[in-house]
Amino acid sequence: MSDRRFARFAIYAVLAAFAAFYLLPLLVVVLNSVRSTEDINHSSVIGLPSNFVWSNFSHTWSHYCIAEHCSGIQPYFWNSMKMVIPATIISTLLSALNGYSLALWQFRGDNWVFGVITLGVFLPEQMKLVPWVIVLRDLDLFNTISGLVLIHVVQGMSFTTLFCRNYYVAIPSDLLKAARIDGAGFFRIFWRIILPLSPPILIVTVIWQFTGIWNEFLYGVTFSAGENQPITSALIALSAHISQAPQYGEQSAAVLMAAAPTLLVYLFGGRYFIRGLTAGAVK
């Protein structure tokens, strides 16, 4: 019996050790965000605050200088919001439509269309960078938030169409047939039958898109500069800018604020988050 006890104890010990490893970076950022830079420089980034410097947050939010612009990370945070909200809504709606037509309305070549869209999920971003430069330039959207929205809508559609299509395939086609006999057309069926069945997959899609687009860096850094950058590339610019004299306290506050939206989404929508991951990986 004591063997069993020991085994249980060992299991919890290993789990707790891993938990500590995962929590360490978060803990470090949270603690540093209320430490002064002198305090950190005198000891290390791993330590307890000797006194709480709450002003790190307000200073980083609205006064910090990133490459000559001294308005804090606030504008970049809002840039990310202005990018992520429309891109998430539009790509979710379009992918629901896409998924619906691919899953439930057979047309010639639908498998091909689906195959190509699936390929889009795997295509590395480096293959698309220069073509996007050309498209954005021709549409006069270079270095604009709208340009980034366009990119994320088009790119995001590959993944989310896949989600929705795989979800809608499970809807019995008899339901559709019955509706069609009753005279319902494409839109009526979508509106009356498909959408009411969709909340689970739409929540997954929204969470997936929100986190993905918020966290995206490569497009942000390639297609925007200066005041039009989203938060991820602004963070990199920030660390590059002050690499001579790092200010860990304020940088930690910035990191925390940049991570907050997706962390909150994860904490409140964790269940759907995991569903999105598994759907994306296994299907």
Binding site: S95, L123, L263
Partner: protein, 297 residues
């Protein structure tokens, strides 16, 4: 009336096709364009004169590309093995009717919600010898403690492994756990009745039944590894020197910093080829599996 019928038939087409066409066309046209440019003499701007395979051989001969691919191998293997091993270990442990399972799961998985930029920035501090873990140990009195991977040419790439595993192992844990939970309870009971211990049950019954999940996780992680970009930029910026550069970084460098569009595109095509090497067998495996499942029905 007739007009109305026409409209009813036509309007869905107008709605269906534009988004479908856009999502298809951009995949096909964009990859075709980049592939084409990789065969031209383009430098700062795209230019359409044929150069054959010159860019490819030039790219293969650069030190950047060779270092990047060596690094990709080291990073890819370490990242995939460690992420899968820790993910599987955590999933198996969590599967032992653990109190507080939800809390543990939430802790293990939260890194996946963070951007690589955030992950890389924070790990860069922790691994920085002058301010991170090494400094802490020195302050605590262990003055001979050395942990200088971040500034060591031979070891810098392993810092990316650490941060990468930290970021992704919760993901593999979640997939493995879902797999473990999907194993037929009757099968487990049968093994128990046969007197198989827990280790034997896992090895002989559980792991073989979730074989497809192993392969799915493996392919996903390999794909992550090949596409890794932001993490390197945030953590080491490819340095010291070129020591921790990866193919994605080299592509960006040639395309946008050196103004060598054709060479950068050639590098991007080779990146796509590496990805295909991983994904094509998997696609084949999936089709084979589906056929097998269909034949059984």
């Amino acid at each position: 009336m007739q007009w109305r019928q026409h409209w009813d038939r036509l309007s869905p087409q107008l709605v269906i096709w534009p988004p479908l066409l856009v999502s298809c066309a951009y995949v096909v046209l964009f990859s075709a364009w980049t592939t084409w440019v990789s065969f031209t003499r383009s430098t700062l701007l795209p230019e359409y004169s044929w150069a054959g395979f010159r860019n490819y051989s030039a790219m293969l001969a650069t030190r950047n590309w060779q270092i990047a691919y060596t690094n990709l191998f080291i990073y890819g293997i370490c990242f995939v093995v460690l992420t899968m091993a820790s993910g599987l270990l955590l999933a198996v442990l969590l599967d032992q009717r653990i109190r507080g399972e939800n809390v543990f799961r939430t802790i293990y998985l939260y890194p996946i919600a963070l951007s690589f930029v955030v992950t890389g920035t924070v790990w860069a501090w922790l691994l920085n010898p002058t301010i991170g873990l090494q400094k802490l140990m020195h302050d605590l009195g262990w003055s001979s403690f050395r942990f200088e991977w971040l500034i060591d040419r031979n070891l810098a790439i392993y810092t990316i492994v650490i941060a990468g595993v930290w970021h992704a192992s919760g993901f593999s844990m979640a997939l493995f756990l879902a797999g473990l939970r999907s194993v037929d309870a009757d099968l487990l009971k049968a093994a128990q009745i046969d007197g198989a211990g827990p280790w034997r049950t896992y090895r002989r019954v559980v792991f073989p039944t979730i074989g497809p999940i192993f392969i799915a996780v493996l392919v996903m992680l390999l794909q992550f590894a090949i596409k890794t970009y932001d993490l390197v930029v945030a953590l080491t910026a490819g340095g010291p020197g070129l020591a921790s550069t990866l193919p994605t970084v080299v592509v960006y460098d040639f395309m946008f910093q050196r103004g060598e569009l054709a060479k950068g595109s050639a590098a991007a095509v080779m990146l796509l080829a590496s990805l295909t090497v991983v994904l094509l067998p998997y696609a084949g495996y999936r089709i084979w599996q589906q056929r097998k499942a269909a034949a059984r029905v």
